[in-house]
């Protein structure tokens, strides 16, 4: 399951009063190793004091005149990916996690970076499945079309046994690199499992066929390590929601992934290694 903001937040965070002097706050920073201090004025948050503010400000200044950081808010049950997007937007140093319009914790850049690292596959550098599930959910929320393509390396078990796992790992890295290079902008890629990769797009399934065929042909043409001939099968499933606000969208996405995965297995027997597993309205497909 995708982790939520409240699962990674700091509950016991330190706030400083708008009228506290830099010297007092510096002492706290030294003792607690805190990088960001929310600044409150009469109980209301008015800004964020960063470690950099503490370094460059005159010791006589009050927090109100030294703070330069900015903050945002995220609801407690929002995915950690949403928090990452806030920080990526660039203008946020700290996120308040809110529940019923009350701050119950904070998330800093360091926390989100540490969390996101757990969702990166060390071998290929691609994100794990959580990432594409979140992106697919976001597309559905926006009422967009989505399609999920499942890429599955043919006979990968044989390659591992015949050439060894180190060679198998190199091939996985090379495949990941090809997918990264040729997946169009605005698509979302992950290593789903062992030798399987998933790609989410905001296009209908049929519109993805040509793009997937192109990727498969580039993989066939690529010269892999040890001169091993590699081919990949792909299955596509996708469609559009009839009722954007109804139902459990995560269930729908998992169903689509499943359909795409089954299609990729079928595709192993096809000449062009590609099967369109599902295309249409996706409201009814949740298992």
């Amino acid at each position: 399951m995708i982790r939520k903001a409240f699962e990674i937040m700091i509950k016991d965070y330190i706030t400083v009063d708008a009228f506290w002097g830099m010297k007092r706050i510096r002492d706290i920073a030294e003792k607690t190793d805190t990088d960001y201090f929310p600044v409150t004025d009469n109980g209301k948050t008015v800004g964020v004091l960063t470690r950099n503010d503490l370094i460059k400000s005159h010791p006589n200044r009050i927090a109100l005149d030294a703070m330069s950081g900015s903050y945002g808010c995220i609801e407690a049950d929002q995915p950690v990916w949403k928090a990452k997007e806030f920080f990526e937007a660039g203008d946020t140093d700290i996120l308040f996690v809110t529940q019923d319009n009350k701050a119950i914790g904070v998330i800093t850049k360091k926390i989100i970076e540490a969390e996101i690292c757990k969702h990166v596959d060390i071998l290929t550098g691609l994100y794990r499945s959580d990432y594409v599930i979140y992106k697919a959910h976001k597309l559905l929320e926006q009422g967009s079309e989505i399609s999920i393509t499942f890429f599955d390396i043919n006979n990968f078990g044989y390659i591992d046994k015949e050439f060894g796992h180190a060679v198998g790992d190199n091939i996985l890295k090379e495949i990941a690199q090809i997918l990264k290079s040729f997946a169009p902008a605005g698509t979302f890629l992950c290593r789903y499992g062992g030798d399987e990769f998933a790609l989410v797009t905001d296009k209908c399934a049929e519109a993805c066929e040509a793009m997937v065929q192109d990727i498969l042909s580039r993989i066939r043409q690529y010269e892999f390590c040890e001169g091993i001939s590699i081919s990949v099968s792909a299955g596509i499933a996708g469609g559009r929601r009839r009722n954007p606000r109804k139902g459990n969208m995560y269930k729908t996405i998992i169903s689509l992934i499943n359909l795409a995965s089954l299609a990729s297995t079928k595709a192993k027997k096809e000449k062009d290694n590609l099967v369109l597993g599902y295309s249409g309205m996706i409201d009814e497909i949740a298992i």
Binding site: K56, S57, H58, N60, R61, I62, L64, D65, A66
Partner: protein, 116 residues
């Protein structure tokens, strides 16, 4: 051999008294980026003594962070002109760590002729 030493201690007191200036910051404060008192602290200090009379204007300047100006001055001179003047002249004497107190006297000269 013992020796007695007489010693005395005196305190000399000098007082200089003058009327407390209200508010104590005259017409404008030019606050440096690393000054010991920031613009918000200055405004709040003066707000307690003379409520709602001063305004902070944050400026884009290499050394000056903001100017705290007596609002009444804007009745006589447009804000951007006054701020421009303060930055032009104040920028020559202020630096990052100073707070410069400024007195601004504006005299309007009006000359009109009317038909008789």
């Amino acid at each position: 051999m013992s020796k007695n030493v007489d010693s005395t201690k005196k305190a000399e007191i000098t007082m200089r008294m003058s009327e407390f200036e209200m508010p104590p910051m005259q017409d404008a404060l030019i606050v440096g980026k690393r000054a010991p008192i920031g613009p918000e602290a200055a405004r709040r200090m003066v707000d307690i003594l003379s409520p709602d009379q001063y305004e902070i204007i944050k400026v884009d300047h290499p050394a000056i962070e903001a100017i705290v100006v007596r609002k009444a001055l804007f009745n006589m001179l447009p804000q951007e002109k006054l701020v421009g003047l303060l930055l032009e002249e104040g920028g020559k004497v202020a630096n990052e760590s100073t707070i410069v107190k400024t007195q601004v006297n504006i005299v309007l000269q009006v000359s009109k002729s009317i038909d008789l």
